[in-house]
């Protein structure tokens, strides 16, 4: 009997833990939009954390601000504009494609082209090596080697 009561009490205790992870957002749709957006934004206090994942107080304030703006009906682009107006492109993990970032975006392609060029040059060199001509004496020596089993 005692065991039964104990087991029942244990079972009763379990659901209490289940509620802990529930988000305390009033509007789950806006919360989801905010998190989607903030995952690609940099927290300016701990620079290697996203705005969605950071516990810094400023990150919390900014998340609050993003929520408030979304509630006012602003779309994601307008919210991003609000942030980049204040913190610059630095808040974006994915920098925009513009003259100062051309090298950043096109750099990998440049390196690929360099690599292809080097590869082509090496291949070409090898081909000319293979095409080296043998003179008569060498040819005869090679023939002899092949027949001399």
């Amino acid at each position: 009997m005692k065991t039964m009561i104990f087991a029942t009490l244990l079972a009763l205790g379990l659901p209490a833990y289940a509620g802990e992870a529930a988000p305390n957002a009033e509007d789950p749709v806006i919360e989801q939009r905010m998190i989607n957006l903030a995952t690609d934004l940099r927290c300016l206090v701990c620079q290697n954390e996203s705005l969605a994942g950071s516990h810094a107080e400023l990150a919390e304030d900014l998340r609050k601000e993003i929520r408030a703006q979304m509630k006012l009906g602003k779309n994601d682009k307008e919210v991003l504009e609000y942030l980049t107006d204040r913190y610059g492109d630095y808040v974006l993990y994915q920098p925009p494609f513009k003259p100062v970032t051309y090298l950043l975006w096109l750099g990998p392609l440049l390196f690929l082209l360099l690599g292809l060029g080097a590869w082509y040059a090496a291949l070409k060199k090898r081909r000319t090596l293979q095409a080296a001509q043998l003179d008569e004496a060498q040819r005869a020596a090679a023939e002899k080697l092949l027949q001399d089993k």
Partner: protein
């Protein structure tokens, strides 16, 4: 020549990394340089009936120092600002950022205030409008209300002499 190529590439890379080591990652380029300082109106610490807005400073070159009583490096900066204030070269506005424990008035009356005015940004919203990422940060604002420079981190005599004072001279303060 050809066999030296990897060595040359290596030293170019070392050059980039060495430069990167000495950069300050906190020094995020501010998008406000050359743009008007965002407008706001906030009550003053210790005198809530009065308020401050940047337009009050039209015609003056001024500094806006974002600080907070809970900020440790602001305390380190405080004596420097005090000596600058004694020199009276430029008015310093001390934006009191997110002072939830309401300690600013007390602190300034015991330690002395280097500030011309202390607007009270309790919610931190004005700070966000200025792109503040942490305290202390200092903005140099010119006679037309345009932000000319932003310094992240405490001002010491070195920063003052090499960075801020030359800028003030240039702006004719």
């Amino acid at each position: 020549m050809k066999r030296w190529l990897p060595v040359i590439v290596f030293f170019i890379l070392v050059g980039f990394f060495a430069k990167g080591l000495f950069l300050n990652p906190r020094e995020v380029p501010s998008p406000f340089i050359g743009k008007p300082a965002p407008a706001f109106t906030l009550p003053l610490v210790g005198n809530e009936a009065q308020s401050f807005s940047p337009s009050d400073m039209r015609g003056k070159v001024w500094l806006m120092n974002v600080w907070a009583p809970w900020c440790v490096s602001c305390r380190q900066e405080h004596p420097v600002l005090m000596s600058l204030a004694r020199g009276q070269s430029v008015p310093i506005i001390g934006l009191n950022w997110k002072d939830k424990d309401r300690e600013a008035a007390m602190l300034l009356s015991t330690q002395g205030s280097p500030y011309y005015a202390v607007p009270d940004d309790l919610s931190g919203k004005v700070g966000i409008d200025y792109g503040v990422t942490g305290t202390p940060e200092t903005y140099v604002i010119d006679r037309q209300g345009i932000v000319r420079m932003k310094h992240v981190g405490p001002i010491d005599m070195d920063v003052w002499k090499k960075k801020i004072e030359p800028k003030l001279k240039e702006l004719g303060a």
